[in-house]
């Protein structure tokens, strides 16, 4: 048998026992042959290591994706929570401070039209309305102020209607009421005051832009509410 044949059969594993013995002897006695066999053994080792590494890389990827998607989901969830928290706290901060300012600056306008006096005529709508207003029965007061305005078109009715609406937390309607008051009469007893309350309504409904616009005008005109307007404006800017 040629050397190459010996080597092939050796690796194929088809050498008989007797042949194997002979093979071992050849390894001992023939250095060149021993080197050749060693070379082939290294080839086998090299290919095996390559194949194993290739498979190992593929298997590693099977481990990794789980970790990836799990941590990616966690990252996304954390990011969402943070963003949400951020928006929430910004929103809360924004609304709370508006609320706080509103609470600080708002108070219902006092009854300057018909202070309740005992003994006087109590059937008059105006008196009745203000009696309710003073007693903080704003729903009843509202109805009556409406009636008064419809029949007599008095400024004060609209003004106190607005305040009543604010007390009832119906701010959108209050805004419309005060706006109506301002368009109707350019000069009215209540122009500055109604502007002031209009601004407060805007503040409460988180419409700071509009509030600031009005406050600026109010701050320039001398009136009982001028100082308050200046102060609130300072807070908002």
């Amino acid at each position: 048998m040629e050397k190459e044949e010996w080597i092939n059969r050796y690796f194929e594993g088809i050498l008989t026992n007797a042949e194997l013995q002979q093979f071992e002897e050849m390894l001992q006695n023939d250095t060149a042959f021993a080197e050749e066999v060693a070379f082939h053994k290294n080839v086998k080792k090299a290919i095996t290591l390559n194949e194993r590494e290739a498979l190992k890389n593929k298997l590693r990827k099977l481990e990794a994706p789980k970790a990836n998607s799990a941590s990616r989901i966690k990252w996304l969830a954390a990011a969402c929570i943070l963003i949400f928290a951020g928006i929430l706290s910004w929103f809360m901060l924004y609304t709370t401070s508006s609320d706080e300012l509103y609470a600080e600056f708002y108070e219902p306008y006092p009854n300057t039209i018909a202070p309740t006096v005992r003994g006087t005529d109590t059937t008059d709508d105006t008196t009745k309305a203000f009696r309710h207003y003073d007693a903080e029965n704003y729903n009843e007061a509202l109805t009556l102020f409406d009636k008064i305005y419809d029949s007599k078109g008095e400024d004060f009715a609209l003004f106190y209607k607005g305040i009543s609406l604010m007390e009832l937390k119906r701010y959108e309607e209050a805004v419309n009421t005060f706006k109506e008051l301002n368009t109707n009469r350019n000069v009215s007893d209540f122009s500055s005051e109604s502007q002031w309350y209009l601004a407060l309504c805007y503040l409460k409904t988180n419409n700071n832009e509009e509030a600031v616009k009005i406050l600026k005008k109010t701050a320039e005109v001398q009136s009982p509410v001028q100082q308050k307007a200046i102060e609130l404006l300072a807070e908002l800017e």
Binding site: E4, N8, N42, L49, E51, K56, L62
Partner: protein
């Protein structure tokens, strides 16, 4: 039984889907199985991968053709064998290793190569990667999958054995040339 034989056949053919499926199916059980041994989580994953590799290699070599147990059992057995080899190398514990059946010692004809590679082998690995596809195929079938020349002749459709032998010779010569020029 049929299912196991089918899986082994697919593993023998190197079917990626089957390998992935086997890997995923047996992972949890294997990790649980290894929890009784003194190795940490990272190493368990490493051992598992090595065990699966050994499974695939032995399948290709035809050593699983007569498998009587399930693939899981075989994997656990390989795993145990590999863990013992690692622990022995570390020489940390001499009493903890409880080898109840002792079978893990000799059952596996699987050579675990040392981490440290000698230069000759490294050169050959690089050189092998540079060979043409035909040579890679012939040499892989012969040296890695341990197939006989007759089998290879059939598989690759060589007209006669001598032609195949010449081809193999030339491929070996190429490898030798590639590594000797360094």
């Amino acid at each position: 039984m049929n299912e196991i034989q089918n899986s082994i056949r697919l593993l023998k053919a190197g079917d990626q889907k089957t390998i992935t499926a086997v890997y995923k199916e047996n992972r949890a059980g294997f990790i649980l199985f290894c929890s009784r041994y003194p190795i940490d989580g990272d190493e368990v994953a490493d051992v598992y991968q090595d065990a699966v590799i050994a499974l695939c290699e032995n399948a290709k070599k035809g050593k699983l053709d007569t498998l009587s147990s399930s693939i899981s059992t075989y994997l656990y057995a390989i795993g145990k064998y590999m863990i013992f080899q690692r622990l022995r190398k570390k020489k940390t514990s001499t009493t903890v290793i409880n080898d109840e059946d002792g079978a893990s010692e000799t059952e596996f004809e699987y050579e675990i190569y040392d981490e440290i590679e000698d230069r000759a082998v490294s050169q050959l690995r690089e050189a092998f990667a540079k060979l043409g596809d035909k040579c890679k195929k012939v040499l892989s079938l012969f040296y890695y999958e341990e197939k006989k020349l007759d089998e290879i002749q059939d598989m690759l459709g060589y007209s006669n054995k001598d032609v195949l032998k010449s081809q193999k010779s030339r491929c070996i010569k190429q490898l030798r040339d590639l590594t000797q020029n360094k």
